[in-house]
């Protein structure tokens, strides 16, 4: 009888400690999830910022790659091809001759 009482008296605090541990674990887990959500949110904002930058750079690239930019940048010597000046050269076979033609 006394033996049984001793085991019950041991189980009680164990049960309480376990319950407290579980409760705090849950709280800790929840706070971890929330902090993770904050981190993801911050990273998403950063990602959105970078995507916006990428789009802006893409727009600038498109503008700079306009055909008129090439030709008006006369300092670079870009001109439209003249059919009389362009000869396309292709190798006919490995180690063999090259074929030059007006066809690309």
């Amino acid at each position: 009888m006394r033996k049984r009482n001793r085991s019950v008296s041991f189980l009680k605090p164990f049960f309480v400690v376990t319950m407290l541990f579980l409760v705090f674990s849950l709280v800790w887990l929840r706070s971890g999830v929330v902090s993770l959500e904050y981190s993801i949110s911050r990273l998403e904002e950063k990602k959105a910022e970078l995507l916006r930058d990428r789009k802006l750079l893409g727009a600038q690239k498109s503008h700079l790659l306009s055909v008129d930019k090439f030709e008006t940048a006369s300092a670079n010597g870009f001109v439209f091809p003249d059919r009389m000046k362009v000869v396309y050269v292709k190798r006919v076979e490995d180690g063999g001759t090259y074929k030059a033609s007006f066809r690309p």
Partner: protein, 568 residues
């Protein structure tokens, strides 16, 4: 149990009971009220930004894209010192302080102060830490090529809805329905992410335009309009077999990124919205009809030695007196007298029938807003002289696109094609929603088209009216047009206002491009062969080089063979 324990137990029980009762009240009786209040604090409704679809040229080069901007708003109730705020903002948004104060002095709780600012500008304002203002992210349409193809692409309003050109015509495809979502936030307003990025995107449009060809066409059209001090000018380049518009431009034009800075007339796409009397370019209708109906043969002779002919009581003259001309020479030298004699041979019903067959009097059906059908009266409303006037391109009003389409019939072997600008619509996931297929209707036989093509080749040869339109290396088939404009003051044909045009295709036997060039009111010269012909030649020459089209004489030259250099 002693008294103290009893009291304590009772107090604890009462405490628990009151908490339980409150919980019952919160969770059962007033659940909806508190739930709504909690939601309003923790959950915020946000709209997902709609990204308008892009517009690309046939090679995938960007013509219309989106950039992220921020719009500045103000809640006047939250502004503590309006004068200070207005002064600080005026330096950043380029508005006078009194303008800003007037704007925020109303009773509204939400006022836009500046829409679609660039992010650097917005950042500078954020740094001022002013109360009562905020920012909303917004998409802004950006046209990286500026004024290139401005009349075709069109533009959008402040709310990103298309109001001109392709932007307007395909607005429903380019945009998508806005959606909203709920986001969790804390007491300070910080968002708690669900780990998903939300984005709604419209469909992308792939045009038949080629940026390179468009640039070549616009550059030369601009030069010509400036050189001839023309009131306006239009040019269109088309694939004659498919109806794909490769380039289309009008002058004056405007910058797509600031369309509000010009007069409305500058934003008009004259290629499809403006009509003119086509003059001699219209003679192909009578010519092709006569060949198709076997009313003439290329060698048949017409006496044009009188230099004029009387039709319905009106005497119509040739620009220069010709002798006896063959049918071919009538077209080559653009004789009014010869053409009218052929038309009289055909009769007005046949002439009218072929005008309709070549697509005049109807819209071409191009996918652009504002197209007009021109003006063509049925034969029962023709006067006695109408058959003569219409045969030489008077008493009819046409658009440059209609004329070009008619020439494409000769170029492609006898079929009327439907011009179009959008070749494909692509969904955001990359799937094809629509792909344009060429629409053709045979209107004359291939043999008639071939024979007439041979005649049109002579127009740019020695003795023709458009030797200036001939391209070095490739044969051009085409026709000049010089038409008088109606003087609005006298309501008669003006003596000094003309429309000069040239329309043709090249290489003549296997055309890669069909093109029309029209200049309104050129100064100094009036003839289509002199004013518009050289513009055609320059554009065609550069375009054929750009497209890598062989010269007609390339096969005579043969292929060049060079030996491989031995590497040392």
């Amino acid at each position: 149990m002693n008294t103290r324990a009893l009291l304590l137990t009772t107090a604890v029980l009462i405490g628990f009971l009151s908490v339980s009762l409150r919980l019952v009240d919160v969770m059962l009786f007033n659940h909806e009220k508190y739930s709504a209040r909690a939601k309003s604090q923790q959950i915020k409704k946000e709209s997902i930004p709609v990204r308008r679809g892009m517009i690309l040229d046939r090679t995938g080069r960007d013509l219309a894209i989106n950039i992220d901007t921020e719009s500045l708003f103000c809640n006047p109730r939250d502004v503590s010192a309006p004068a200070d705020m207005a002064r600080a903002l005026s330096r950043e948004i380029n508005r006078r302080p009194d303008e800003i104060i007037t704007k925020i002095s109303g009773k509204k709780r939400f006022i836009w102060l500046e829409r679609k600012m660039d992010r650097a500008e917005a950042q500078r304002i954020k740094c001022l830490k002013l109360s009562g203002i905020g920012f909303v992210p917004e998409m802004k349409r950006y046209y990286p090529k500026g004024s290139l193809a401005s009349h075709i692409i069109g533009y959008v309003n402040i709310d990103n809805s298309g109001i001109e050109g392709i932007e307007s015509k395909y607005n429903s495809y380019l945009t998508a329905s806005p959606e909203e979502f709920y986001v969790q936030r804390d007491a300070k307003g910080h968002h708690l992410s669900e780990g998903q990025t939300k984005d709604i995107q419209g469909n992308d449009l792939i045009l038949t335009l080629d940026e390179g060809l468009q640039y070549i066409l616009e550059k030369n059209l601009e030069e010509a309009a400036t050189h001839w001090k023309a009131a306006s000018a239009t040019a269109i380049m088309m694939n004659p077999y498919t109806g794909e518009i490769l380039a289309m431009a009008s002058r004056p034009d405007f910058d797509l990124n600031s369309p509000g800075n010009v007069k409305p007339g500058q934003r008009r796409n004259r290629a499809v919205t403006d009509c003119y009397e086509p003059g001699s370019t219209f003679k192909i209708i009578v010519g092709a009809a006569a060949l198709e109906e076997k009313a003439v043969t290329p060698g048949m002779r017409f006496d044009c030695s009188a230099g004029s002919v009387e039709v319905g009581g009106r005497r119509i003259k040739d620009a220069h007196r010709h002798g006896v001309l063959t049918f071919q020479e009538v077209i080559q030298k653009s004789s009014n007298v010869g053409t009218i004699k052929i038309a009289l041979k055909l009769g007005k019903d046949t002439v009218y029938d072929y005008i309709r067959k070549f697509g005049f009097g109807n819209k071409t059906g191009i996918d652009l807003p504002g197209e007009v059908s021109g003006l063509l009266r049925p034969p029962d409303r023709w006067s006695g002289m109408s058959i003569g006037a219409i045969a030489i391109g008077q008493e009819v009003a046409v658009t440059p696109l209609q004329v070009l389409r008619a020439y494409a019939v000769i170029a492609n072997g006898g079929s009327l094609v439907k011009p179009h600008l959008v070749s494909e619509i692509r969904s955001p996931s990359g799937g094809t929603l629509f792909r344009a297929e060429p629409e053709k209707k045979r209107v004359i036989s291939a043999e008639t088209a071939r024979r007439f093509r041979e005649i049109l080749k002579t127009v740019t040869e020695e003795g023709g009216t458009a030797t200036e339109a001939a391209v070095d290396g490739n044969q051009v088939a085409g026709k000049t047009g010089t038409a008088q404009l109606i003087d609005p003051a006298t309501r008669r044909y003006s003596r000094d206002k003309f429309v000069s045009s040239f329309v043709g295709f090249v290489p003549a036997d296997q055309p890669r491009i069909a093109m029309i060039v029209v200049l309104h009111e050129p100064k100094g010269q009036i003839y289509g062969g002199i004013v518009a012909g050289p513009v055609f030649r320059k554009i065609a020459d550069e375009s054929l080089s750009y497209l890598g089209v062989l010269r007609d004489d390339a096969s005579d030259k043969g292929l060049l063979l060079v030996s491989e250099k031995k590497r040392s």
